[in-house]
Amino acid sequence: MSTATAVDWQGPGQRTGSRWGFTWRELLWALVFPRAGQRILPTASGVILIALALGIGTAAYNTANNILFITLSLLLACLILSGVLSWFNFKAVAWRLPPPPSLRAGQEAMVTLELRNGKKFLPTYGLWFEVTTNPMEPPPVGPLQGRPKDRPVREILAAAEKARQRTRLFLRGRLDPGGAARLDWIFKPTRRGRQKLALESVGSLFPFGFLKKHIGSGLRHEVMVWPAAVEYRRHSPAAGRPHMGGERAARAGSGGDLLALRKYQGGDSHRLIHWKASARSGHLLVRQFAAESQETFALWLETSAGVWTHPEQFELLVSLAATLAEDLFRAGKLTSVALNSLPPQPMRRVRDFESFLDELAVIQPVAEERPIGRMPGSADIPPVEGRMSVRKNVITFAPDGARGVAAYVDGEKTATA
């Protein structure tokens, strides 16, 4: 889980404690037991420098030649200078990784890393940030029935590595003292589910490229990737069904019925002000009218493992359900949703819809027996907040052939994907 909140800054610039952000105890302890992910590796030029120092040192001792001792001293001093400059470079630099607002499988999303340099007059150069996204659940390998422990480890690891996305964000140019920068990563989640967005490490070759320094970062966020949007084919009869006395939309619109009162906002027409209520409450209140009556739908998604045996078909089901739900919600025609045997949830606010997508993101087939071919009917729909036990305009889903998925409205095929 996340070890830092979304607004937490991390890095040497965020340290608290002593005035200078440095304590000898911390330094010595870090030498004995480095932090996780903190490592220093020599680069090619570093290896050359070390080899040169060894060679020159050997020659110096072998010959007692002070010119070689001077050269050796200079090489060692350069190595120390490199460490000091590297320390200056990281000093007072802080970063944070706010989680992206929403991610959807198959759609590009942007992760932004924010940086700031708290030094007074020294800039910071040449940092890079290793950012990864990693599914929290292992990706499916082979048929769903197989137990994970039966799968070859190599195959599982390969699938996990394939599902993992990583990038290295470079700080190009100079981060001035007191300055801030944003590094963007545009990536495309491949599959729905919970993902771990992590800043694995912060690295640098600064200043001379002798050593590759990595600072481990505990910055991790759990983000939800909603199911991918799919293209589906609509079948006309369901689209134009007359309203059969089902639900009426109780949402704001331009209809004639008063829906609610709300606070006045800039730009509202003065004619909408409810003067009487305003006088009573002491605040300007405006009338909010209900939308015109329209046909609305409820969506019921069943994920019986006995019905959805193919993983690809199940993924298509989830994607189609999410796409249909989104389209209907945007059109104001989705009133409630239900998952398996859970009670239906009303869809009134965007937050409701996002919660539904969150559930779709992690939904898996359940071992719930439901005979295939039985027509999904309104009689099975659980009541919505106890208002009615028999529902109309219920969208259900069933396999359509070996790979496809069909959506039904009251038993009539409405859309296929």
Partner: protein
């Protein structure tokens, strides 16, 4: 709205151009070591300099080089190296020339990261080899410049790499001399004046100062590391000088023709530096003996093979040589001699000594009788050695020669060996011998003289007949050259005077030999050492005094023929020859380099540690004594009598101290506050500072009722002091301020 001025940054193209510039400068720095390396690589040096400079200025031309050149470059370089090695047979010069060729290639071809690293390593090889071989002070300058340039180069390379946007290698057509379409933009847009202008705008003086301080820190740190790195004497000799041979530049060999020493005198370069731990032991005129020449043949003196065989015993790989002097009581006096490379394989020695110590193992030939030491190989680097128990007396005892005179060694047939009489040999022709006998008769007047008296008279005789001149003119004619000069009135130089004296003394029956080396020198007032230049090269004689010793006789005019026993010694003797010139300053740097760096060894390291320990202890003792005195003074003051006046004085003093402390604290706080405010202003609000500047400029104009000034004044004050969200558009405000300053300001139009 953020109007803070941001320092511009170099673009990727400009970083690549800067990298190219630094790489080329680094290459030039490296190849210029050949200047003082004394390797036959002048052609390559000139080629490197010209080609790398041209490639630096016009990098676009390199894109026209066909790929075939790059493909064939390395094999050609290898072939050149093998041919060079095969032809000359010296591996180190061949490797240096190979290094130069590789640097040339890397300097005139577009480099990737690994090529940049190669360039640095190749350059470092040249610099270090030059330093090891020459042990020159120039190495210190060179390595510092190289390090600074290499660090800046690596810094820029790292910045370029950090952008991750690497240019692909430039691919040119295989055989066509035309520019490739894939040439990176930094090559096409290379404009050095523009780059320098950009650098001026990008560079912050604080960063430059910080970098300079850091580099100074690196130098200091490397100095401390140099002192602190533990030293062990593994007793191995230097490996590089074995791969390189060198001829003596000055001609101090064991075969000297007339004029050789004069040629040396024409060179004013540094030859020897002599450092004495007790300058009081330094004679006013120091003679540094190098070569002893006993045989005169065909107008030249030489060390006869027989004497060489008889005198020089081989002591392979000695680091210490025992001399003929016996240990003296008292503190030892050390003479450290720094012999520059190219002078001679013979070591300059001020006389007899007790012990000689080299810095490292040396393969030597030592003659205890002749007091001469020769290195087996001509040293290609500065050679330093330390002498202990030196005797600079003009008399050199030689019991072996005395014994030989008494009982000449004989061959198998019982005949005396000839080499014992070689110091008495004169030209073979009778006419020459007759002329010499006549001259001796004129000198002695028929009397039998002691060696010292004969030396004095002969020198005066020569002085009256000949003037000193570096341009000698020996009259033409038959017979021996030296005898012709001796009997003439022609001027001559030291070799002719010494040679003539040798002939005269031998004719008079005194075994005599010629000695070459250095005489005199200047006393460096900055480093307190004797500096001997090649122009101090000299030739003199050593005459057997018949009492078991060789007497130094210097017949050249201007010298005392026989050094007096009461000759002044020490710094006072050099008062007239103190050198305070700029050249002496440079030489003092060189001596510092030799004393403190080149000659630093385990013993010096221990001495340094002891000195630090001693200084710390002394400082501690001084502090303890001071504290004790202070405590005693306070106690004494406290127990002395107290009266009202004294109490009042004490109270006044305490009040004054308190007041001063309080005032100081206030001042300190105000100073800190002012610094913080200025710092904040400086850092955060360049716009406020700009507005302040304009307010200051326009202050006078405001009083004159200038309408533009009055109009812009409130806006400037708002920018200077007001909250940031209330600021007007800054560019317009400053433009109006500029117009008002130029007198073209207009009053603002009233809103309708």
């Amino acid at each position: 709205m953020s109007m803070e001025k941001k320092r511009p940054q170099l673009s990727l193209d400009e970083l690549h151009q800067l990298k190219w510039l630094l790489g080329s400068v680094l290459a030039l720095f490296s190849v210029w070591t050949v200047f003082y390396l004394d390797v036959d690589a002048w052609t390559l040096l000139i080629l490197n300099t010209v080609a790398i400079s041209a490639a630096l200025i016009w990098p676009g031309w390199l894109a026209r080089v066909p790929a075939a050149v790059h493909i064939g470059a390395f094999p050609v370089i290898v072939i050149c190296f093998v041919t060079d090695l095969w032809t000359n047979g010296q591996i180190l010069p061949a490797m240096i020339r190979l290094d130069l060729m590789l640097i040339l290639y890397r300097g005139i071809s577009y480099r990737q990261r690994r090529d940049d690293l190669q360039l640095i390593v190749l350059g470092l090889f040249l610099v270090v080899v030059a330093g090891v071989i020459t042990v020159s002070l120039a190495f210190a300058v060179q390595i510092l410049a190289f390090t600074a340039c290499a660090l800046a180069f690596l810094f820029v390379v790292t910045l370029v790499d950090a952008t991750e946007a690497k240019y692909p290698p430039v691919h040119t057509p295989l055989f066509t001399w035309r520019i490739s379409v894939a040439t990176p933009s930094w090559i096409r847009q290379a404009d050095w004046p523009r780059l320098f202008a950009r650098l001026r705008t990008v560079v912050d003086w604080r960063i430059v100062t910080f970098a300079s301080v850091l580099f100074a820190g690196v130098v200091v740190l490397s100095g401390l590391l140099f002192l602190a790195i533990p030293r062990f004497q593994l007793e191995n000799s230097l490996f590089l000088d074995r791969f390189m041979s060198k001829k003596a530049r000055t001609g101090f060999t064991d075969n000297i023709k007339f004029g050789d020493v004069t040629d040396i005198i024409a060179d004013n370069g540094l030859a020897v530096s002599v450092d004495v731990s007790d300058p009081g032991q330094m004679p006013a005129t120091l003679y540094l003996r190098m070569v002893v020449l006993d045989e005169y043949r065909e107008d030249s003196f030489r060390l006869s093979p027989a004497l060489r065989r008889a005198s020089f015993g081989q002591e392979p790989n000695a680091i210490e040589v025992d001399g003929t002097e016996r240990p003296h009581a008292g503190a030892p006096v050390y003479w450290t001699v720094y012999l520059e490379s190219g002078v001679s394989s013979y070591l300059p020695l001020p006389g007899s000594f007790e012990r000689l110590h080299f810095r490292e193992l040396q393969s030597i030939l030592n003659s205890r009788n002749l007091r001469a030491i020769s290195l087996r190989n001509e040293p290609v680097t500065m050679t330093a050695y330390r002498l202990e128990g030196v005797n600079t007396s003009p008399l050199l005892s030689d019991p072996g020669f005395a014994e030989n005179l008494r009982n000449p060694p004989r061959d198998r047939n019982g005949a005396p060996l000839r080499y014992t009489r070689r110091e008495l040999v004169v030209p073979a022709q009778e006419s020459d011998q007759a002329a010499l006998r006549a001259a001796v008769a004129e000198i002695t007047g028929g009397a039998t003289l002691s060696a010292e008296d004969f030396a004095g008279r002969a020198c005066r005789w020569l002085d009256t007949r000949h003037d000193y001149s570096l341009q000698s003119a020996t009259p033409a004619g038959p017979g021996d050259t030296l005898t012709r000069w001796l009997t003439s009135k022609a001027p001559g130089h030291c070799e002719l005077f010494a040679g003539a004296f040798v002939m005269l003394a031998r004719t008079a029956g005194f075994p005599t030999r010629l000695v070459t080396g250095f005489k005199g020198g200047t006393w460096n007032a900055f480093s307190n050492n004797l500096t001997v230049r090649n122009s101090n090269a000299h030739a003199w004689c050593e005459m057997w005094n018949g009492e078991g010793a060789w007497l130094r006789v210097d017949p050249t005019p201007g010298s005392a023929p026989v050094t007096s026993a009461n000759e002044p010694q020490g710094t006072a003797a050099f008062a007239a020859r103190l050198d305070r010139s700029w050249s002496a300053r440079l030489d003092s740097l060189r001596i510092f380099w030799y004393r403190r760096i080149v000659n630093f060894d385990q013993g010096n390291q221990l001495d340094t540690l002891r000195a630090v320990k001693s200084a710390t202890q002394q400082a501690g003792q001084r502090m303890r004594v001071s504290l004790d005195r202070l405590v005693l003074a306070v106690k004494t003051w406290l127990v002395s009598g107290w009266d009202a006046r004294r109490i009042a004085l004490v109270m006044t003093g305490l009040l004054a101290i308190t007041g001063l402390g309080w005032a100081g604290q206030l001042l300190l706080r105000g100073w800190r506050w002012r610094i913080r405010r200025n710092d904040n202003n400086r850092r955060a609000d360049p716009a406020r500072r700009e507005a302040g500047r304009w307010l200051e400029r326009l202050r006078e104009k405001k009083g004159e009722g200038e309408p533009g000034t009055d109009a812009v004044w409130p806006d400037l004050e708002r920018v200077r002091y007001g909250a940031r969200p209330t600021w007007p558009e800054l560019e317009k405000v400053f433009r109006r301020a500029r117009q008002a300053w130029r007198g073209r300001g207009k009053s603002p139009r009233l809103p309708s």
